[in-house]
Symmetry: D3
Subunit: 236 residues, 6 copies
């Protein structure tokens, strides 16, 4: 099957890192095609960036040709997931969707660790919108430096590990979701250091996407995610 | 005070109708300036349209000069309300915010009647995101024809009245919010026909906006609605 | 318009302080008339006091002549708000109603700081009854001395500021409501010291009251707040 | 033990009917003493009546001499239950408390049938305040005539039975609580006609009261129901 | 009346301790018959043990002859409570049912202290299943040694007291339920040391059981707890 | 990979039907091994049957040799899922887990249609325990005849279709989960007749199981699903 991994921001280094994780998680026979939202913002770090990302993301993915079998939106956010689900006839998987859906059967209560304290309310809104508040123990954050700043891998992993253990002690969360594409590459190292199960959302998204294709399922096109009522051109 | 009434869609006839309602609701001394999101879609009838509206809305309002004292977003939707609240230092009021906040102290449970069944899930998401589910008895809909189609005022009012009474009987809602800018002009006629209190959101938004200016309040700029971390140009 | 600011307790110094805040918050053309519940308790510091306040409050306000355009109940409590709303045909605004309704669109989650730890469960009940639990991060308290005891303004402000910052750190609340009429006079000083937005409920109540009058709205007299079924005299 | 059955309204025929039910439900050795809130309203049919009932109820019960072992508040309402719990050192049981606490372990979801549609929002507020919304399928109502009007027992039972079966079909409630003291005398007849289990709250209240006395328990006097901070006289 | 106190585990010393508490709590005329689930596990310390307990518990109690008037399941867990309620025509009371039902009217919010941190998620599931989350402030734990290990009474009481006060400070819980049959014998000593009200569930269960018998009530046999559809032998 | 499809009941015809569905849903390279809980009841049609199923299920699966890579519990129920997750080190997937986790990102709100009205409360308990109430619009039921009775496929499909459309109209659910292994074979035929998306849980379970194995994930063995504290033999 052909899976487009769509980075909602415009930063190709993030696309590349996610694509590497996606290819490692994909099954034989799944072709992962990376796509970057070149008209989007360099990073989704606010609701402002979210809406700047969503419009070109929805338009760009609608115009994909050939249309892939499935799309994974490779950012831990909203940025128009509903719009993309409406616009496309193929299944669309977002990282929060995939990670929380896989987390719930595995744990008592999960926590999400995001990239900066600034994104905690944004991420809590995602959890609430998905209806997972009963199973979410907490949203917490490390403090990643701005995109492009020098970043010591060891320092990031250490900070993540400290935050994960702090959250676990405070809330008894037994599973942690890495809530930001920039955190995904640290999942393997983090797992060696902390007690809770660690979910890396890109891999979860790829597996969920493959599952939907195999099951012949997609977002409810006769329900919430029906196509927009007008011709696409009318919206532009 | 100077109040910008910002229509998130590009249809100036909707802007005009809302501006008339807004001026009727404004206090002496409040200047209502109408603004249309000319790069937005003609109507917000889906999540797709919502994201197409949000990006130019946020950018356009950020660029207003002179900046008004307060902004009312004159559509019953999301279309980047959070983004606008982050981007601006003046208070920003959305219609769902204003209508639900005014409804809650007045009633036992409110219902929302929106423009088409297509928008019910979208509107339920708004209610949930605002944290008002405990007080919302139902979201229902009439079936407005597409923008531009001939529309009999009497027929719309009759359909609204029938739906309001149906919802009241089914759920005991004692207040109804008109959930769509296109419905607002029918509020006065509807009030003569139905039992529940009818809220017209544009007027609620204007009053809430004036109240915030007088109170010296705005969205929490040191909290959820802090300015985006980067220079605005960086997002484009 | 004529606005009665009704203090549910019998202490005129509290009435006077609230009336001063109300007049400062009122628009030109709004006449604020202070009213004291002389048959009520000196302070509402318990459910016992609440019920002692509510009966004379409801009877006293029902008997106002001439009836004002709107009434603001100037205490952060219940004390029969529902009873007053039923009994009167003019709009009735309580401080918790007004403050929470204005807070919700401005913030991610609000906290309430009340006057004594004794009142925390009472205040949590108010939040739950209004249906605002999803948006309330915490109810906390300072420890005001009894009414009449010497009170250092600086000490109160310092204690409030410390408690606000404690709550903010513990819960990420980005807005704080002062949950007690005795705290209202400290709002301005507090704002200079703390990170979250501070809401002073008397001013919120006055603005909400004016908005209702301008909008022609009141509690749902055809629904929850229908007049009591019997003649008023029958209840006495 | 000595149990005071306190009717929160002033109508002695209601007191008598409840006292008969209470005596039938009491264990040997329990003396049921009926008490009428003579300064209260003739019936609690609104929040207005509720607050008129609560003040003399709290004052009257506080002044009981000798103080009984336990008090059952024999009305299906609020009318200052919290105030009475604060004021007294002996256990205080309200009918909604007792009926819902006994209902929950017996059923999947309970319904409450109250005396008039007017009381449905009031009763829903009771359910929410107690924290039982997850287990309450619905609040419904018959339409009892005013107090004193001629009342055919057969007609009341038939109307109750019809409403119970309607609610059961609509919501799958498998237990019904009679939500009004005036309905209690019909419980036995109703049980012969309907599918769900029928709870009669006066009997539940008496049994809960006896249980608390035998267990040496009462409302948390070191917590929510601590005595009011001032001398009782100070509130009057 | 004849009350069977059924220990869901196979450890007779636990049966004996609970039976002693039950007899102390029973009214004159109530005969407490202890029963041990000899084919169950020695202790219910996991969901695995829970299911090992439930099957023989349900089968064993169904086969009681003569059938008692009421059954109290004397462990703070699930272990097939629903199965037993379905299988039997007499009322069945579980300890969490009884303790939480009695706690709710007495307090603002209760906490549960269980026997080991391992059982916190299990116990939180019980609270959620019963629909009591709104009233439960926290589930906490001491760390009892394994069954059979030497156990200093003073040390257990001291650890319980410390944990109760820690939970009270952290959550303002004003009532604590001892969530494990092994903790029940320490209730009296604990009460002398801590601020919150302490509920001992065996006594609560006995009183609730007696109340049901006197009220002629049992689980809804025409609803959720209808008898299994097939002959009992068919399940074995 | 080796996947054991474990039927919690003892009826091999159900095992066979589920195994066929599982094999059709499995990816190349996945070996589906069917297993029947021969000491369990013939059908799980009550909480009584559930506990009769759970004990031999947990014991039987723990004793599998060789241990497979993953286990799918092929019944739409509880029957000790938590016990099996504790007991095993390999990932364990239940049908409700898998179906609800896959449903949530695809729809606005899902409904579950189960096999008989008797199982509606049981199934509602499953939804609540998983924390999915916010996303579940309703649990409904057809009325399958007892196991072994003659069953017209056309009649079952027609009844299912009618019930699905009834639920969709009443609740706006846009996705339906078949809540019973006996219903799974009708999924394909049902899809041709109804508007909502239809989820067949066995296929969902197989895909979720494969995903977990590929992701190297399993239930949190350092958290809620830690192994039981004692040696397995101690429980028997």
């Amino acid at each position: 099957m052909r899976l487009v991994l769509a980075n909602p921001n415009a930063t190709t280094s993030v696309t590349d890192a996610c694509a590497a994780l996606a290819r490692a998680a994909a099954s034989p026979g799944t072709e992962v095609v990376a796509w970057t939202n070149r008209e989007g913002p360099p990073i989704v770090d606010s609701w402002y960036a979210d809406y700047f990302a969503g419009r070109p993301l929805a338009r760009g993915l609608r115009a994909l040709s050939p249309m892939p079998d499935v799309i994974v939106l490779a950012g831990f956010g909203n940025y128009g997931t509903g719009a993309v689900k409406e616009a496309l006839d193929v299944p669309v998987v977002s990282l929060p969707d995939a990670a929380m859906s896989i987390a719930v059967p595995l744990c008592h209560r999960f926590a999400i660790v995001t990239t900066t304290p600034r994104m905690i309310p944004y991420t809590e809104d995602l959890v609430a919108a998905a209806g997972f508040r009963e199973r979410c123990a907490a949203v917490a954050a490390v403090s990643l430096p701005p995109l492009g700043a020098a970043l010591s891998d060891d320092a990031v992993v250490a900070e993540l590990a400290a935050e994960v253990e702090r959250v676990r002690t405070a809330t008894r969360a037994d599973l942690v979701i890495l809530g930001g594409a920039r955190l995904s590459p640290y999942a393997a190292a983090l797992r060696t250091l902390v007690t809770p199960t660690v979910l890396e959302p890109v891999a979860c998204g790829v597996q969920m996407a493959e599952a939907l294709v195999r099951l012949g399922l997609r977002q409810t096109k006769t329900g919430k995610y029906a196509p927009p009522p007008q011709a696409f051109e009318a919206y532009e």
